[in-house]
Structures are given as C-alpha cells and as structure tokens.
Symmetry: D2
Subunit: 293 residues, 4 copies
Amino acid sequence: MLKKMASPDMTLDRLNALPRSGFVAALADVFEHAPWVAEAALGSRPFTTVAAMHDAMMAAVHTATPDAQLGFIRNHPELGSKVARAELTKDSQAEQGSLGLDRLSADEFARFEKLNAAYGAKFGFPFIICVRRHTRDSILRQFERRLANGIAAERGTALDEIALITRLRLNAKVDGPGKPQTDGRLSTHVLDIMRGRPAQGVRVALYEVGVSARGLLADSTTNAQGRTDNPLIADEPLRIGTYELQFNIGHYFGDMEKFLGIVSVRFALAEPEGHYHVPLIVTPWSYTTYRGS
Amino acid sequence: MLKKMASPDMTLDRLNALPRSGFVAALADVFEHAPWVAEAALGSRPFTTVAAMHDAMMAAVHTATPDAQLGFIRNHPELGSKVARAELTKDSQAEQGSLGLDRLSADEFARFEKLNAAYGAKFGFPFIICVRRHTRDSILRQFERRLANGIAAERGTALDEIALITRLRLNAKVDGPGKPQTDGRLSTHVLDIMRGRPAQGVRVALYEVGVSARGLLADSTTNAQGRTDNPLIADEPLRIGTYELQFNIGHYFGDMEKFLGIVSVRFALAEPEGHYHVPLIVTPWSYTTYRGS
Amino acid sequence: MLKKMASPDMTLDRLNALPRSGFVAALADVFEHAPWVAEAALGSRPFTTVAAMHDAMMAAVHTATPDAQLGFIRNHPELGSKVARAELTKDSQAEQGSLGLDRLSADEFARFEKLNAAYGAKFGFPFIICVRRHTRDSILRQFERRLANGIAAERGTALDEIALITRLRLNAKVDGPGKPQTDGRLSTHVLDIMRGRPAQGVRVALYEVGVSARGLLADSTTNAQGRTDNPLIADEPLRIGTYELQFNIGHYFGDMEKFLGIVSVRFALAEPEGHYHVPLIVTPWSYTTYRGS
Amino acid sequence: MLKKMASPDMTLDRLNALPRSGFVAALADVFEHAPWVAEAALGSRPFTTVAAMHDAMMAAVHTATPDAQLGFIRNHPELGSKVARAELTKDSQAEQGSLGLDRLSADEFARFEKLNAAYGAKFGFPFIICVRRHTRDSILRQFERRLANGIAAERGTALDEIALITRLRLNAKVDGPGKPQTDGRLSTHVLDIMRGRPAQGVRVALYEVGVSARGLLADSTTNAQGRTDNPLIADEPLRIGTYELQFNIGHYFGDMEKFLGIVSVRFALAEPEGHYHVPLIVTPWSYTTYRGS
C-alpha cells in the first residue's frame, strides 16, 4: 500500500557542474513558474548539501522585491479549482491529485470554491498550502483559520508553505548528501500479554477518518515479531489528520463474541515529519495503547 | 436514558392468599395464552420466594404432555411479523416493541419473514427467544444458528427461552423475597493518570453497533469521581450484542488535535445478567481499558 | 491488622450541657497541659458541630498573648526523648508510642537527641509535629527541613501542627455531628485480565519501607471481588511515608518461575486524609498499576 | 557493565584444514579432559558450520560405550568444591569463577558440600550443569530437584548439560558460519505517556535478587530514545534467576514524594537464549510493564 516517490533523476554533483542555463532549466519549475529563483541561487554554487541549495533558493525568494514576491505567490494555482487545471505545473498536478483534489464531490467542490473566493477577495492571492502534508479535512480547517489572519502574517505563511512544498520537490528531484528530512513514519506492534509474546497473525487496517476522509489506507497482518512487514506509512510526510487503526483481536484470540472483537484506536497525526509508533498490548479482555517511539 | 420497568403491582404474599381463580387470573398471561400453567402451579402454594413460584410454573410446563407442550409453544407469536400483531399478549407487544421489531425496515422485515418461513417449515412452531436479552443482530444470528438444530434440541431451547421470558415477566409483575436475578449492569470510570485523579467532565456516549443496531443508547458526563451519575445500563438485562463507548478525551484535555480525540472502546456484551465495568485510564497520549468489576 | 481507635466516651450534647468546671475537666488535656484553652472556649457554647468546638479552642490559642502562646508551645514534650516520658499526657504517650518513638534503637535515639538539641537551641521550644500523620522517616525529614525555618514561621508551623494533633484528640474523645475529616484510606483491587475477572486468592502484603520503617503493616488475601475484605489502612490518618504493596502473582497464576512472581508496587503516601486506591491489572506477563479512586 | 567474551582465536576453515593431531590438540579440552571426543569427530571433516562440528562431537559422546560415557562424566569437577580446584580445565575455572563459585561464603560452601555429597552418593558421578546459564540460586534449586531423579534420567540430563557447556566453549573458541545461538538479551525502554515521548534521563539499575544473588549487575541512564545505550545484558546467556529493574521515576519527574519514586519491576528470566524486553510506560501516577519483544 506504500506509494513510493519515483527516484530522483539528478545528482547534486551534476547540478553543481552544469552550465548556468542547464542548472536553471533543471530546476525551473521547483518554484512554481519561477525560473528566476534558480537563476538567483546560481551564484552560491557549489552546494555541499541539498538543504543548502534549498536554503539559497528560499533566500532568493525572501530577498526579492515585494512586488516580485507577490507576483510569484499569485502564480500559484487555486486548490480544487477546475479552471486552473491546465495551468498547473506537473508537480502541482501530482500534489493535488495525491489527495483527490482533482476529483472532488459537488459539495466539496462548492466548499473549496467558496473558500477560494473569500480568500482571494481578502488577500488578493491564492491560498497556498503544502498539500502533501495534509488531508482534505486539515486543509479545509487550515483554510478557515488562515482566512482570519492579517495580510502580512498570511504572506509570511504562504512563503513558509512554499518552503515546505519546494523542499519536497527538490528531494524528489535531486539525489545527494544532506537532503532535508521530509518523511514521517507510522508503525504498530501487537503484544499478546495473555501468552507473553508478540501477536502473530493479527489483521491490522489503517483508515483516515473524518468528513472528507480517504477511508482505508493500508491493511496488513502482523508477523512473528507482532509487527507489520512494512510501516503503515513511510517515505512520505504523514498527512495531518485523524486516523483509525483497527486490530482484529477477536479473530486472533479465536472468539468474536466474548468481549473484544475489533479494537479500534483513533488518533490525530499532527507532525508530518514525525515517527508515530502506536502499539497495542492486548488480552481478550483488555488493551493498552500509546504513542510510542 | 435509563428505561425503568414499572413497579410490580402485586406481592407474593397476596398471590399466596388469593382464591384459586384470582391467582390464575393474576398470572394468566405470564405464560403466553396459557392460564393452565398458573392453575397447575396452584397446588404448590404458599411460595416462599418468587423464584420458587417460577420454578413451579416451569415444572408444570415440563411435565405437561408432549402435545400440550407443543400447542403451548405454537401459541407464541412470530418475531417481527405484521399479521400476528393483533394476537400478541401485552407483554409480547412490549417485548418486541422494546427492540423496534414492530417497526422494521423493509429489508429487515424481509429477512425476518424469510427466517420465520424457513423455521416454521422445519420445526412446525415459531422461533422463540427472550427478546429482552438480545439486540436485533444477536436475534438474527441466533435465528440462523438455531435453524441448524435438530427438532428435539430446538424444542428444549424453546422451553429454555420461555423460562427466561417468564422469569422477567414475573419479576416485573410480582414483588416479594427471592426474585430471580435478571438484571445486568454496564458502568464506566475515567481515571486521569496524567494528574493522578478521577477525570471529571468527560463526555461519554454509549452506542449499540452492528448492521441493525439501535445507535446511541446513553450519553452522560463524568462526575467528580470520574463516574457517570447512573450506570449506563441497569435494572434490565444487558442485550447480547456489540457496543461502543466513546469518550471525548480531546475535549477533556483541552486539545483535539495532538493525539487522542474521541477514544472509542468497542466490546461485546455476552452475559445479559452480568456486571460489566469498562474503565478508561487515560493521558493525552495513551489509554488502557479492560473488563473490570 | 487495623488499629481501631477506642470509641469516644463523650457526646457533644453532653459537653454543651455540662457545668463550666465539668466542661473544662473533660477537655483539659486535649491541648497539652493547657486547661485554659477549654476555659476560653466555654463562652461560645453551645457548639453545633465538633469542628466548631475545635475552631473555638484554636481561636483561643491564636488570640492568647505571645507569652502565653510560647509557654503553651514550650509545655509540649520532645519527640523520642527519654527524660520527658514521665511528664507526657496520656495522649502524647499513645501518639509517640504508636510510632515506636518510645523504643528507638540507639542510633535513632542519638539522631533524635541531636535534632532536639539543635532545634531547642535555635527556637527555644520543642519540635512539635502531629505524629499520627507521619512515619519516623517523614518526621526526621520534616525535622531537618524545619530547622532551616525562621523563628516566626516555625511558631506558626508549631500551632498548625497543634491544630492537627488536637483535631484528632477531640475526634477520639467526643461523638457528635460535624466531626473534622481526619481519616485516610488505602485500598487495592486485583483484576486478572488474562481471564477477564477479579483475581481471587492473591496474597497481598503492605510494608512501610525506608531507613526507619516499621516493616509489614498488613497482609490479606483477595476475595471474589478481587479486593481485600477490609481496606489495608482505614479509620486513621495515612502516615506520610513510602510504602510497598507486594502481590504474590506467581502463586496466583500457579507458576513462580516464568516471568512474574512477587509484583511489588512502591509509592509515597503524601495526603494523610486522602483516599488512595492502588489497583493491579495483571496477567502472568504484564501489569498496570495507578493511583485510582 | 557488559562482560564480553574474548574473541575466538580459531576459524572453522583452519580447523577443517589442520592435520589430525592439530585438530585434536586445538579442541582437546572443549570436552572436559576428553581429547578422544575431538578424535572421534575427525572423520566427519570438513564441517560446513560450527553447529555441525558440535553435533559430530556430541554424537561421539552419545555413541561411546556406557563405561566410556560414565568415565567421561566422572572426569567433570564438582561445583563449588575447593579440593577439585587444581584439576579444573581453564574453561571450567572461568565458568565457575564467573558466578563466584570459587569464593562462596561459609554457609554457601557448606550447602554445596552437602549437595555434592548426597548427589555423589546417589549417582556415583558429579553434578554437572551449564553454569553460564544459571545463577547460584537456580543452580541450588536444580541441584535439589535433580537429586530426586532416577539414575538413567540423570545421566541423560548430565549429557544434555554437557552439550550446553561445550556449545558455549566452541562458540568462544571458533569463528565461522553457523554458530549455535547461545546468547540472550535483556533490554528496556521507558515511555513518558504524560508528555507522549521517550523518557530521557531515567536512571535504571538491574539487580539479581535472591538468597545468593549477585546484587547490582548494571546501571545506566536512558537516552533520547528512552533506551539504554547498550542492552542491560547481551552477548552471553541470560542466567536463569530472579531480577529486579529499578527505574528512578521520582527523579525523572522531579518530585520524589508525590506518589511514584523508585519503580521496581521484578521478574524471572527462564530462557537463557531468549530476548526479554521489559518496557516501562509511565506517568507520575501510574505505570505499565510487560514482557515485550
């Protein structure tokens, strides 16, 4: 169930060695429709880490004139908007598509339209958020909260989100030392404390829950160590949102009707780059769960 | 949210003292359309306990001729059947109504019709079950299981269920010493182990869950002892089925988005006359639950 | 193992009705060698609660002249001192004896002598503490801490401790409404979550632990409810100190050598008038314990 | 605190290639005073795994004549005996010394003498046990139990223990593929569920407990992952016995007197080659522990 990113097609060494035009061409769309960002960062070559290259590009954004910054921000697409589809960079399309923002229900579409309109009217630029770190529910919640911001704070927030977006884009595109930490991890572990050993053969399912939730995200069965062979989520940011782990404990203990059947553990993921380990310590009559590490 | 039974209108002393016809009239419908059961038990008066009176009445059923037994069993109504409604005793109406069997959806009605038909064709008498000890889901599960029984075993099961039904009816009708234990109890308790004290002000909701479940059964807020002022279910049998307790822990700890929000504990109740105590021992990052006592 | 106080020999009603001299004689020694306290409180009769009578007596102390207060404080015995033994009130003797302060080891005696000397030299009056709320270890810890106080603060602390001492003496002597709450309670409960029921037959022992600890205080075996028939401590203040509950879990599960044998739970009691409930939720391979209620 | 074995000084390849006399000389004392065992195993060279070489040597023991077997068994030293000291192989000396059997108290020495005498009188050969898998308490317990065996069973047990002893000796002497698994592991992990993160800076001490116990075995402080930098025991068998982990929780939470101070978890280790993970999930008011993995 893990969605691996494609491997990067470029190394930091090669980017350091490319002629100026090649460097700019290679990174042109990392910052949405803004090849000038790569160009402004050129002078700082060679970069010793991918993070340093990203820092240099963000510095170019932060030191641009207010008008240039505003123009850059305005060049970003609206979220969930149909009209903007043709003009999205390929990265933007993939990011929005990863969350199904390109195939919203009529109700959800209407909700985004309304928020986009209100936001545009207040701030004069589109709402920008690092979609890969969010669920639809958390995007909508952020949208509503940020509508209450002042304009200066909100421009700052837009740039912060752009930093998060472009960090992920660079990581996907470029291989090399010192890549920024952008991945989270969600794992589980089932301990059978009736018998004093890992619980093997427990069916585990992970759901996103909430109004606009994506439903089932992963299912697996615990191995001899009481763990799933792979983490439930890895190699990507954990999307901020509410989740539910369901453990089929009734089946494991061979009796669905005595007390525990499906044990469900609902929790929020709030740190997209964090490691959440959510163990279950269980008998047919009891369980303990916690955020572990 | 507790559904209290009406108080009994009759004492055991008075039943012991009544003339024969009065005794029979008072208890005529305890056994469905079978005043002869009360009549047969008359000779064992005076009864020292309500349980002894019930035993005497069941002994009358068990020692009746096979034909009389079969006739008696056949006089019971079908479950969820519309045609039989007019012929139900008032107790039968209340019992079936308590579970909404008088207002099934079209699908549920069709499912009961099909099971009633198959059961009647195989056994020649209606399916009898002590409705007050069951949810719709557990009735349907029992219905399917018992269809696989042999005819002799199933007649025995029908009489066992009649014993359970009439025990409850007698308890509701008659006051006096030695009443059979027919009530269960479900309670909870929330301990805040971040602060080392009972968790006061936690919203608790109890749901029945499952295909034909009744949904929300009770909601309450914990008091200074971390308990609800009244048990979540009491003074009646616990209906066999699957339940979910939801604790609003996010609200209690003042933050819905960090890790725990709604904690839901799903469990089966399998002993209608049992005491289930389901505590929650909780911090914002962990919880333990178990069948306590 | 519970040490019950003798029943009170006097009622509040009777104290309200006694002639002045009788009232003073009855309460003469509640405040150590200070019948004038009872005399000063006389005018506030009749008292509607025992607590109100105690308040009136403490008010008499607080409104006495500084010299009278100091004389009163000086009339208290030293702790653990052999020379003072003959001059103690019967209550003082019982209080010190309850903790074995009348039969200290040579080392302990020397430690008390040294502290008494240092305290007397600094403050000019003896160290006063409500012995019934303390263990020897907590008395020695308090002794050392309070030696660092200023003289005014320490006089205040001495009067606060006298209030605690005399509250207990009045409660033991007088029956009537509105007695101050002076008792604590320590109880336990063992749940077998391997089998989903209370653990019956678990041997439980309570120890006081620490340098000068009294050792075994209570032992018992859990009943069908998984509880001891009586609380481990009740009907008296919980002495501030460190305790250890030992549960013979290996014996209960019938195997001493697999993983758990004696489970020991060590904890501090810090609120003498509190209710501490310390449950154990256990399988042969795991346990959970917490301060419950 | 970990006692690492010295690295092996010989490879399996080299043993396969040595001339016959060199092979026998290299392994002469692996089986106590019995170079004939190595000689009998010679014919099965080359060995592809260390385990296969050990199997071949044990096969030589099992197929020897009863008299040869008995002579071999008799050539083993008594445990804790002073007279035998000079005649021990170096391995035997190290094994007994690792448990302090060469420096017993007078009482312990007397207990061993009595058991050695009773055992010798009954069986005609010395009591053999793989000392590295035991504590003094478990050796004494085994000694008493095995005294009740019949002579044939006890000869079988002696050979089983010799297999365990020589497996460890071979592992220590020979490097190569397929070494038998002879090491156990004991580790811990402290989770702070008040704050939802690993507990860093908790002082942890491991004790062996019991009549003849060795006392403190390891102490450490948890790191940022809530673990000790090294396992508490590793790279050797876990000695069968009773242990206590002490966690200084009062210090970690900054308050020794509220409820929890030193949390002690006592448990038996019964599988010398097993992995025992004993986590503590803790707040200032509660904890959970279990045999994890």
